[in-house]
């Protein structure tokens, strides 16, 4: 490649507004890309297109109503938000959640992780031009959505998590159906995923693209699959919240490539990990109540975190002894991964920008809650 000094004609920088409306972006995000020919030299984010002020609304709602409010922070991993919020309030109010409820929370949380990862793999396949793979992966995802509808009554906004437990139980038939669907999903993925992992064209588009070395990932505060793809073994399920402490195999899935391919492989491997965790949770689920009554109002402050499909989700909750919270704050994983994204883009080709953006699995409605 020619350097700038040896070019026949001097290059001029061009600024391209990438987004907020772009075919590859399901949600509005703008990156102002400074280009030298086709090469990105700088990227600046511009957000604010869908900020809803949910943190402020949470101060006006009853702390129990907030369970359903925070679930709407994200239309993909909604259950994770309600789970994190409930765990925070339960910590503040010293609520002892029944063990059966904790196992049921794991079942729905891991089903949510599976559908989120399948959604991501489909979208990223579409971004690098493999539409058939996109359709097939979303067809498999549909099985997960159907089993969530059968067990929780809804496909995405489950609304089954409540302060003190969960609102629905699983009977034996639902447990057997869930296990059957998991087997079917894994069988179908065995046929699809080798294409994603080994296809020459796919590897050409992903390997060595959007590099994030481990020291930069740490310094830039990257979380979740973005950090694990750079070799950082960080997975908050290891802290043992809900029933994760009773399950085997809750170890961080890591890759060392630090590129788009590694970030995709993390999701591929975590699909199998999540399926195994659901199986274990269903097999080990203890008998007993699924919820306990909660009395009083939250007082004090808590910082609670968990592992959402995109990484570390943090809620700060401050109660004042009334029905309304003094402050609710959400730090979502995409928000934490934005600085890392800004580091990945300089040096890449303009044609690779959509794939690199999607490789962190951005969720802008989370980011701008």
């Amino acid at each position: 490649m020619q350097t700038t000094a040896t070019r026949a004609f001097p290059t001029r920088n061009t600024v391209i507004p990438f987004g907020p409306q772009h075919p590859v972006l399901p949600e509005p995000l703008q990156l102002r890309l400074v280009l030298e020919d086709e090469c990105v030299v700088e990227a600046l984010p511009a957000i604010g297109y869908c900020h809803r002020g949910l943190e402020k609304i949470a101060e006006k709602k009853d702390f129990i109503q907030n369970v359903y409010l925070v679930e709407r922070i994200c239309g993909i991993c909604s259950f994770m938000h309600s789970l994190n919020y409930c765990q925070g309030i339960e910590e503040l109010m010293k609520v002892d959640v029944p063990r059966r409820a904790k196992y049921l929370r794991v079942v729905w949380a891991e089903l949510h992780r599976m559908h989120s990862h399948l959604l991501f793999l489909g979208l990223v396949s579409d971004a690098f031009g493999f539409e058939n793979l996109f359709m097939q992966l979303w067809r498999v995802r549909e099985h997960i959505l159907e089993i969530m509808e059968k067990t929780a009554g809804a496909r995405i906004m489950l609304s089954v998590c409540s302060i003190g437990g969960v609102r629905r139980d699983l009977d034996d038939g639902q447990k057997a159906e869930t296990l059957r669907v998991l087997d079917q999903v894994e069988r179908e993925l065995e046929e699809l995923l080798p294409t994603l992992m080994n296809d020459y064209s796919v590897r050409q588009r992903l390997c060595g693209v959007g590099l994030l070395p481990p020291d930069h990932a740490h310094d830039l505060g990257a979380v979740g699959p973005t950090a694990r793809a750079s070799g950082i073994p960080m997975d908050h399920r290891q802290t043992g919240y809900a029933a994760y402490g009773d399950l085997d195999g809750v170890t961080p899935v890591t890759e060392t490539g630090g590129d788009c391919y590694a970030r995709i492989m993390i999701r591929v491997r975590e699909l199998h990990q999540s399926a195994e965790l659901v199986r274990q949770a269903i097999q080990k689920i203890p008998a007993g109540p699924i919820a306990v009554p909660v009395k009083g109002n939250p007082d004090g402050e808590v910082l609670v975190r968990m592992e959402q499909p995109r990484g570390e989700l943090i809620f700060y909750i401050k109660g004042n002894g009334t029905r309304n919270l003094e402050r609710f704050r959400a730090r979502t994983p995409t928000f934490a991964n934005l600085p890392a994204l800004l580091h990945m883009l300089p040096g890449c080709q303009l044609a690779d920008v959509p794939v690199i953006i999607l490789s962190i699995d951005p969720c802008i409605s989370c980011t701008e809650c």
Binding site: K60, L220, G221, G300, L303, E312, I314, R329, P339, E368
Partner: protein, 143 residues
């Protein structure tokens, strides 16, 4: 769930010590997590969260209304996103940011100023406390 979630590991500091203390924490290998800002009425309560090999630790400071806040983006570039958000939503002027959106990171020109601050007059939500809202609208008269 563990005790770490109850914000036990908190170090109270003053704004002028923020950058120095954060540099020390970075030198110990910690990861920058985020900043939480709460409006207390007369001042802002800012908590800086860091991850020390899986354990959370925090720096906490009180910033009087109208005072400026030094940026941590020279220590951790990752801080620049949340600092711009705080500048927009709480009206705090953050000095020395690596990228300064001048209050236009999230908010548009026509947006309310510092919408996350607690201000008298807009704190009553009629959906939550209809009686209080009616009293505020017409003191002494019942609905």
């Amino acid at each position: 769930m563990g005790e770490e979630f109850m914000l036990n590991n908190v170090q109270e500091i003053t704004p002028d010590r923020l950058v120095g203390e954060a540099s020390l924490i970075k030198g110990q290998g910690c990861r920058f997590v985020t900043v939480t800002c709460t409006d207390l009425g007369e001042a802002h309560d800012l908590i800086y969260h860091f991850d020390d090999k899986g354990e959370l630790r925090h720096l906490r400071l009180k910033l009087p209304h109208g005072a400026t806040l030094p940026s941590l983006s020279g220590v951790w570039f990752a801080a620049v996103i949340i600092e711009n958000e705080i500048q927009d939503l709480f009206g705090i002027t953050v000095t020395g940011m690596a990228i300064d959106y001048k209050g236009r990171f999230i908010l548009a020109e026509s947006s309310p100023k510092a919408p996350f601050n607690k201000l008298g007059g807009i704190a009553v939500d009629v959906r939550v406390r209809p009686a209080a809202a009616a009293e505020a609208a017409a003191p002494g008269e019942a609905l």
